[in-house]
């Protein structure tokens, strides 16, 4: 199977855009793109995992004009559709990372330093669609990412859900607006220049940021207090736009996620949200979730878990936190009925999302649940469940063709489609030298 992978990939990609035998003139890219819009494509494979727990062996996915028309064992095929046989391959939905830290400027540069409370800002303004990160993510089967706010601010910006490929105009997705709070240590030292004062940087305007967890909690608390005051008085000395955004969080119009890797930050997040009156929030990067199952289960707090033991994560290198994941955390979360998804943060390659799912499987999570945790459930947590994350009628035709069991250590994506168009170039990686 592995030896045939490049050939298979080429055959599939070729099949998607194959010119009609009876009309060799239809070779131009424009004509082919037009045909993909107007003609249904039927992908047949040994297995189709739909991302909501269903598996069809063998299975069929029908695509038309960038959308999934049907997925199942033997759905009715539209007349005139082209059948592409993927052989022994497996098809899954494109993967979704709900807390990605790639595709923006450098991790440090992404930190906003003008204020600790910036819920009025939007990470979409910082997303660089030309970043090579997106190409790599797409190569690895990640088709949608939610670029989350930087932990350098106590209350950070709204994140942005974007696709990792396809026309730039169509990449931004309308996810539910969500801001991020950080009360762990990162809010007190991350940032370009305004870290805590030290012997080289004496106290000044530039390092006014909180320097401890209690300082961060105070900033968090004060911000919501100011927002309430703004609501009552109609005026504020703070940025009114920020205050309005915080009121939206209090009203539930804008969701809140709290970064909490270490156990005490889970507890603080719950306590502070209670205190300021935020009813629902999500835990982001909940590394020590296994120690807080009681809290998560009783209060139904969703968790974005990961990344586990990243080898090359720059973010992880900079946290200096002593958070240790129990390796069976995804399994435990599933057993306790906690809604969760997996994230690779800034991980790519061996630290990427597929490997995070692989680790979850290794340490006891069922393969279908692992797939859900990086597709359907991740999309649902972003409010994108009717757009991406599953192979179901009407959803975007974002899918991954694997040369073996998905997330298996010995298998990899051989074709990735975003909106029905191939974005994965089998010639891109390991081709020139290895063929």
């Amino acid at each position: 199977m592995t030896l045939a992978a490049p050939l298979l990939a080429a055959a599939i990609a070729g099949g998607l855009v194959a010119p009609r035998a009876d009309d060799p003139s239809q070779h131009s890219a424009a004509v082919l793109a037009q045909r993909l819009r107007t003609e249904a494509v039927v992908l047949q494979a040994a297995e189709v995992h739909t991302g909501d727990g269903n598996v069809f062996k063998p299975g069929v996915v029908v695509l038309l004009d960038g959308k999934v028309v049907a997925a199942g064992q033997a759905p009715p095929l539209p007349a005139g559709s082209r059948v592409v046989d993927c052989g022994k391959a497996t098809i899954t939905p494109g993967l979704v990372d709900a807390a990605c830290q790639l595709g923006v400027d450098d991790v440090q540069g992404y930190a906003e330093e003008s204020s600790e409370v910036i819920p009025q800002l939007d990470a979409a303004e910082s997303v660089d669609y030309f970043s090579r990160d997106f190409e790599r993510l797409a190569d690895e089967g990640v088709t949608t990412v939610y670029v989350t706010g930087s932990a350098a601010s106590v209350i950070s910006c709204k994140g942005a859900a974007v696709k990792t490929g396809g026309p730039i105009a169509a990449r931004k997705l309308a996810a539910k607006a969500c801001v991020k709070g950080t009360i762990g240590p990162e809010a007190s030292y991350r940032g370009g220049g305004n870290g805590p004062p030290n012997r080289f940087n004496p106290p000044s305007f530039h390092n006014r940021r909180p320097t401890t967890r209690m300082g961060a909690a105070w900033v968090f608390r004060t911000a919501f207090f100011d927002a309430r005051a703004f609501q009552e008085k109609g005026a504020t000395s703070e940025d009114p736009a920020a205050m309005k955004a915080l009121l939206d969080v209090l009203d539930g119009k804008v969701a809140l996620r709290m970064q909490a890797r270490e156990s005490l930050d889970f507890r603080s997040a719950a306590r502070l949200c209670d205190e300021v009156g935020v009813k629902n929030f999500t835990i982001e990067y909940g590394i020590e979730a296994a120690k807080n199952l009681d809290l998560l289960e009783s209060r139904k707090i969703p968790v974005i878990f990961g990344p586990v033991r990243p080898t090359d994560s720059r973010v992880a290198m900079q946290t200096f936190e002593d958070a240790t994941p129990a390796l069976t955390t995804p399994k435990l979360l599933a057993e306790h009925g906690v809604l969760f998804c997996l994230t690779a943060s800034d991980g790519i390659g061996e630290g990427g999302l597929a490997r995070q799912a692989g680790l979850a499987i290794r340490y006891g999570l069922d393969r279908e649940k692992a797939l859900k945790a990086v597709s359907g459930d991740a999309a649902a947590m972003l409010g994108l469940e009717s757009r991406v994350g599953r192979l179901a009628e009407g959803l975007d035709a974002d899918l991954v063709v694997w040369n073996g069991a998905p997330f298996d250590d010995a298998s990899k994506p051989i074709l990735v489609l975003i909106d029905g168009q191939p974005v994965f170039d089998p010639e891109h990686r390991f081709r020139k030298e290895n063929s």
């Binding site: 033991r309 994941p325 129990a326 390796l327 290794r362 010995a410 298998s411 030298e433 290895n434």
Partner: protein, 454 residues
């Protein structure tokens, strides 16, 4: 830090079988790296070596300790052919330090050795790091025992030489320092030879009638290793071709310099190349040397194209497999991150199109060859050592675990009693095992004081 000690000590107790005692693994499928399989196999081990491998009808000695492995996979104990685990600091500050010995630095209670058992690694070549010019003697150990002596498989095995500049050096200083070290050694040996010649003459009450150079030449045959300054003894053995050399060459150009230096020093036959990711560019040159090659744990070579900014990526083991050059896989670090496991590195190779047999040999047989133990380790075969990992499934499938590990015929690890693994998996602290009850009858406890209200 008391917990790992207790753990290692309890494992040691399990590992001690009296000499001459036999053990056998019954049931299970032998999966050898060369692709051969024996279903429902019996592996018999005596005196630490495998004495029989066969089907279900293979006779098992009556006194053998039998380990049942029905439904399991039997795979040779994996080998870390080049690692710094157990060392607190991988390198000296001194660029030329062949006089040190990892024997003095190996920490037997290091959790990494415990992790080796869990990962099915039975043999570990502990050698100093790459940030050196000439480093000290290495040691091949097994991950069992709380004393280095007990762990030792091959003492004082090899020496690390780096062609790639250590920190603060450039390539010219690196090679100049390397050559100077051997020149200094030659000078020292020559001085000792002269002295020895004079001493011999003195014993016979003869006068030294030759110039110093000739005295040195005449005295060369008299020099024994004990005559040398302790600083130079290892390097002297190296120069005589008695010690394998692990030659670190990070860049492709370093490989070329390394081959040239080894040829001029007549040490090529003792060399093992420890290469970086760029080594795929000199795969043919490495092939021509016929010497073992240990790849870096990072298996992908990235080279940004200056024009397009795109990374040109090469999966290094695939190039070696295509060129039919045996290679040895290492890990990135060692432990629970995916690429901290040898089997995972092998699975990655299969993912990128390396034949399965090559990937499996790269963590067993070829690794054994690289540490000069190809005849003793690397497969489950008669005459080889009884290093057998009992796996729950295929070695390259992610849900497979090491259930049990036998080293030299002795069961040393059992997943069922791995207390720390439970902690790592669940995050819950496990009770510390109690020391075994003494066999002598306990004194009767003092009678409880009478209760007042009765």
């Amino acid at each position: 830090m008391i917990l790992p000690f207790l753990h290692a000590a309890s494992m040691l107790a399990a590992a001690v079988l009296p000499a001459g005692e036999a053990s056998a693994v019954r049931g299970g499928t032998v999966v050898n790296p060369d692709g051969s399989r024996i279903e429902n196999a019996v592996v018999v081990m005596q005196n630490g070596k495998i004495t029989a491998v066969g089907g279900a009808d293979t006779p098992i000695p009556a006194d053998a300790v039998v380990v049942e492995a029905a439904g399991k996979t039997l795979f040779p104990g994996m080998i870390l052919a080049h690692t710094q685990i157990g060392l607190d600091v991988p390198n000296e500050n001194v660029p030329v330090a062949p006089f040190v010995n990892v024997y003095d630095a190996i920490e037997p209670n290091s959790l990494e050795f415990e992790e080796c058992q869990r990962a099915g690694v039975a043999t570990i070549h502990v050698i100093q790091g790459n940030n050196t010019v000439i480093a000290g003697l290495s040691r091949i150990v097994k991950p069992v025992g709380d004393m280095v002596e007990y762990m030792t498989v091959r003492p004082d095995y090899a020496v690390k030489v780096s062609i790639t500049p250590r920190s603060g050096f450039n390539r010219m200083t690196q090679l100049a320092t390397l050559r100077a070290a051997f020149a200094d050694l030659a000078q020292h040996v020559s001085d000792v030879a002269e002295r020895r010649y004079e001493e011999e003459k003195k014993k016979k009450d003869e006068k030294v009638l030759v110039p110093p150079e000739e005295a040195s030449k005449e005295g060369m045959a008299l020099v024994t290793i004990d005559d040398l300054d302790a600083r130079w003894r290892t390097l002297w053995r190296v120069s005589k071709g008695e010690v394998p050399l692990f030659v670190h060459c990070d860049r492709a150009m370093d490989v070329l310099h390394g081959v040239e230096w080894l040829k001029e020093s007549k040490l090529l036959e003792k060399a093992v190349f420890v290469v970086g990711t760029e080594a795929w560019k000199v795969v043919n040159e490495l092939k021509a040397t016929g010497r073992p090659v240990i790849l870096s744990g990072n298996l992908v070579h990235k080279e940004p194209d200056p024009q397009t900014g795109k990374d040109r990526e090469t999966f290094v083991p695939k190039v070696f497999a295509d060129a039919q050059v045996p290679f040895v896989l290492q890990t990135v670090g060692f432990g629970f991150s995916p690429d901290g496991q040898l089997w995972y590195q092998a699975a990655r190779c299969v993912r990128e199109g390396v034949p399965r047999e090559s990937a499996l040999q790269a963590i067993t047989q070829w690794a054994a060859d690289a540490i000069g133990m190809g005849g003793e380790l690397g497969s489950i075969a008669v005459g080889k050592w009884g290093n057998v990992a009992i796996l729950s499934g295929d070695p390259l499938v992610q849900t497979t675990y090491v259930e049990k590990l036998l080293i030299e015929g002795k069961p040393v690890y059992d997943r069922a009693t791995d207390r720390r693994l439970k902690e790592i998996l669940t995050g819950e602290q496990q009770p510390v095992p109690q020391p075994p009850q003494s066999a002598t009858p306990q004194a009767t406890p003092p009678a409880a004081p009478p209760k007042k209200d009765q």
